[in-house]
């Protein structure tokens, strides 16, 4: 238990960073996890090719919400190329834990939202 719900994870869950939405965002993307109904949305504003503002919203378990909160802190100021390079392992690194195959879907949902949003940005 202590392993999974470490204090910094619970802290992000109880005091989410960058929670909310942005109007006129350059990247807006929302995905859900059909197995459990969790939803994560990211709104990102870019300036000079870097993330100048980011907000997340949604609903879900401690792991998915804390991951979203951590991810917003991580990506602030990063370039689009740097965002694209973010891997699952980076997310586990932020969480400080490795998740089993079922629970990984919760922890990686925010990263999937980011990558999907980046794909759509390229297509548009």
């Amino acid at each position: 238990m202590e392993n999974l719900y470490r204090e910094h994870i619970l802290d992000h869950y109880r005091h989410p960073r960058n929670q909310g939405t942005l109007d006129d965002a350059d990247i807006s993307c929302e995905l859900d996890n059909p197995v459990c109904g969790d939803v994560v949305r990211l709104d990102i504003r870019l300036r000079d090719g870097r993330v100048s503002e980011v907000r997340f919203s949604g609903r879900g378990c401690v792991i998915s919400m804390a991951s979203a909160s951590m991810l917003t802190e991580e990506i602030l100021g990063k370039t689009v190329e740097e965002l694209k390079a973010l891997q699952d392992e980076d997310m586990f690194g932020m969480l400080g834990i490795t998740l089993g195959p079922v629970r990984a879907k919760c922890g990686l949902l925010p990263l999937r939202v980011l990558h999907e949003g980046l794909d759509r940005l390229e297509e548009s």
Binding site: P34, C36, G37, C61
Partner: protein, 415 residues
Amino acid sequence: MNTKKRLDPIVLKADFPILAREVHGKPLAYLDNAASTQKPQAVIEALDEFYHTHYANIHRGIHTLSEEATAAYEEARDKVAAFIHAPDRRGVIFTRNATEAINLVAYTWGRANVGPGDHIVVTEMEHHSNLVPWQLLAREVGAGLAHVSITDKGRLDLESLDRLLQGPVKLVTFTHVSNVLGTVNPAQEIVARAHAAGARVLVDAAQSAPHLPADVELLDCDFLAFSGHKMCGPTGVGVLYGRPELLEEMPPFLSGGGMIRRVGRAKASWNDLPWKFEAGTPAIAEAVGLGAAMDYLSAVGMEAVWAHEQELATYALERLAEMPGVRVIGPPAAPHLGGERAGVVAFTVESIHPHDLAQALDWEGVAIRAGLHCAQPLHERLGLVATARASFYLYNTREEVDRLVDGIQKAQRLF
């Protein structure tokens, strides 16, 4: 009630080797039986013995092992037929699971009998496996799909069924027991009303056949589907029961070896029932294992299993009702209050996501399910994002319900 044979879960627990293990240093309390059940030693040994001494392909070889394997496989079919009171073994078809059994009906009977403008009636409490095949069928043939509504208490609204039955309904299909609400639907009544309206009926018995005495003659249904793994059997084998006269008329589902009588260069003719619907080498050992599961459950007695689960459900409902912040989903009435309720108890805990609750309980050795339980439309109907679910079987005890309650309290303190 008190004249019936009772079961002792402590004694039965010893029959299931996996239940002796620990999880995170705590004895395992396995309360995820609606997802799948554990296997008794008798089933594990049946698989083992079959592979050790009798295994070969069936219905093909003229050699001793093939004869023995064929006999064992067909004996398993007879055990299934007896278990569900099927009047004719030709109506018992081995499939991969309940999902495949339902798909078999949707793809063969459905495409031959449901046309543009016809209606298929399902309910708001279906598992995705008894909803999506009908969505696909309806879209493909241009039929309508209608949902029997549920009351806010989580029971089927039979007036809504009657209204829907006034339309051109070809099929009514419903779950006998809800895998989320624990509702026991009045199956005989629904079948009778559907038949009176000229519709065929498929009963999804995935959550009922493992838990209460099953009787297809009493139900009078046209089709019945269930999975072996939810009733002490191996994975990979399930059952479709169908009225032989309907199965005779239906085109084949999967095709290939085993299901044919003669094959020419351009066309083939079909084997007799039930083999017409069993293309390719089936799950032979798994079917034999399912037969052993039927023996095991029959020896315990399905009435005793059902009575035990009703007791546990009643106790769980009482305990959960005492807890602040806990909301039980589904019919509130416990059996002794006049409402039948299966041993499936879904609930939410205020301000704790079901995933986190399940994780916290896992740390206490208590295994429950969290999420949508493959019933997304039902959760939407109830305005729920996700739920936690404890589901019981013959080896569960009141003490394990207490551990569930203690674990929830611990999670409430943590989050």
